[in-house]
Amino acid sequence: MSRTFVGMPDFPTAAAGATHDPQLRHNLREATHTIRDKRDSAVGELDDWAQLRAAGKAIKDRTLRHLDGYLEQLESAVTAAGGTVHWAADAEEANAIVTRLVRDTGEREVVKVKSMATQEIELNNALDQAGITAYETDLAELIVQLGDDLPSHILVPAIHRNRAEIREIFLRTMADWGVPAPENLSDQPAALAEAARVHLRRRFLDTKVAISGANFAVADTGTLVVLESEGNGRMCLTLPETLISVVGIEKIVPSWSDLEVFLQLLPRSSTGERMNPYTSTWTGPTDGDGPRNFHLVLLDNGRTNALADEVGRQALRCIRCSACLNICPVYERTGGHAYGSVYPGPIGAILNPQLHGTSDPVDASLPYASSLCGACYEVCPVAIDIPEVLVHLRERVVSEPGHAAEKATMGAAGWVLNDGRRLGLAQRAIGAARSMVPRHIPGPPSAWTDTRDLPDIPEKSFRQWWRKREKAQEDETTGARQPREDGAEGRQRSDRRGGERS
């Protein structure tokens, strides 16, 4: 029922299409800038952000370096709490396990909490083939599902749709899936949300099986943690008789107390809120409260490939906050679909090629889908050095026999290259933000670094430049062409750094 990413064009091709879609660019710009500003102020509130970030990074490094032990610990804690643990080496196996578990209940319908792991394995398709209908319950996922579409952002999967399109999708398709949309439906967000509430209400109250992911799995207690906003998560985690959670093996944190770090880092980085509206934690089933059966499916599906790469391993620290998407100038122009996977943006550019390998042209092109400006690293709450991994993966791509890297490279860099000024600025950014990045980029990109002098390290940092550029763009759109005076910009910048202090 839902479309897949199979057969996607490679990044340069997809990006070229997307960058010419003015509506998409407008939506993305509005959305990413709004979340970005909220994030800045939420992060700026905590004067120990840098310490939290360092702790978050270290906890995840500890987990990854001893993942075998933590997996075994998690398994025994979940089992002791009355849950059942399953291990899935790849997507196919995970889908088979979940399908069998649903079949065992005798049910043909399941409700789903938004989960990237189940998107990654394309679980809905697998269930569909087995005659089981999976209903997405997160509003954005519902929009994507009803629109027979693909998610394009980690946090706001329907970011590429505007209210008029959403109204049209609801009117056209809701009746096929259950309760129809009211005929006089307006395109006001409150009316659209109400239509979704009515559409899903009965489904929540009646469905016997739910499928979720988890944001965290606590090894020492066997606790699973889900953060959400709408309450659809609470509905799915509480009302059905059977709960099946599909969780990547990297989602572990060693101990209960470690949550004190991540429950501060994640909401502020992600939605820019002090805390998301709802967080649910459960440790196995509870008598008389919530599902009677709990199954945890631990998913590898390429994660051990990433783990084996000493440089790339850090990508597994990711807590899927999406801050890197919202800051990324490439994502802002291309949107999530161009990345050809459920993991878009900078994190997708380093995660996908590691999970899948780089034999596929989409994955091979992703390490080039970046200007290496370093902004993603600065905002990442677990300090993943995305530019470092990108450069590392580029080396890997070009060293592979028969690679199509030349085309991939030049195409992906196209948006930078087709504007000489932009290129100069991007290169300056490399020099300023990332002194470790080699001045001569190895492999095919040398085609352009070779023919251009990399400028000296500029006085302004990338962030300063970027802020100023954005301001100028905003002024352009609002009609004011007043460049910010230095004092104001300096202040703004130090506010931001005050939050980061990294």
Binding site: I59, T137, R197, E230, G231, E260, Q264, M275
Partner: protein, 209 residues
């Protein structure tokens, strides 16, 4: 599929060949230099944060609780209120609403009430979060989820400053629900809409002294 456990663990171990064999998890230092809380006077901070989430907040003294609950029920025209079986009876003596005790109501019966009254386990001032752990006066999870209005009583001595204090105080073996404002979505053009699937209205009554 029993082989997959060994296969995955084997792959994990092979992937970690660079980690010295004698390294223990604790050898990977975790700097815990972050603050346990971010200051502030807890109750006023909690009020401020809750209001930021569009929750209604009322501060009352011990004697004023029953009247505050009654007043909220009147204001929201709540005819039937569900309460956990162990909710103190004196909390609801002043309210004109019909009180329905949850002695294992069905989901549909819960769906047919107008609101719910609960206590809480802990409230976190700096994030405006109320935590329910299904303990005294809180009931099972479905009770605070299905009705459209949630009236939640927080005693001032249940308010802590920060997230670390909270995590330390909670028992992970209980199912926990952290609530920060009413149900909300920003999925449509990032316009915030309060109330999707969870209770659309959260009223918090803080009982002091």
């Amino acid at each position: 599929m029993t082989g997959s456990r060994e296969r995955i663990l084997g792959r994990v171990r092979a992937a970690l060949a660079d980690v010295p064999r004698d390294e223990r998890p604790d050898d990977v230092a975790v700097p815990r230099t972050y603050a346990s809380a971010h200051g502030g006077d807890p109750v006023p901070t909690l009020v401020d944060r809750l209001e930021d989430y569009k929750a209604s907040v009322h501060r009352v003294t011990a004697g004023g609780l029953a009247e505050a609950i009654a007043e909220a029920a009147r204001r929201r025209s709540l005819a039937r209120l569900v309460v956990p079986p162990d909710l103190p009876a004196e909390w609801t003596t002043a309210t004109p609403a019909t009180i329905v005790r949850d002695d294992g109501l069905t989901i549909d019966e819960l769906d047919a009430v107008d609101g719910v009254v609960t206590g809480c386990a802990v409230a976190i001032a700096e994030t405006g979060t109320i935590v329910l752990d299904t303990g005294t006066a809180q009931g099972r999870r479905a009770v605070s989820l299905i009705p459209d209005v949630h009236l939640c009583v927080v005693r001032a001595d249940q308010v802590v400053n920060g997230v670390p204090e909270t995590v330390a105080q909670l028992d992970p073996h209980r199912p926990l629900t952290w609530i920060s404002g009413p149900s909300a979505t920003s999925d449509i053009e990032l316009d915030r809409v309060e109330g999707v699937h969870g209770p659309r209205i959260l009223e918090v009554i803080i009982e002091e002294g």
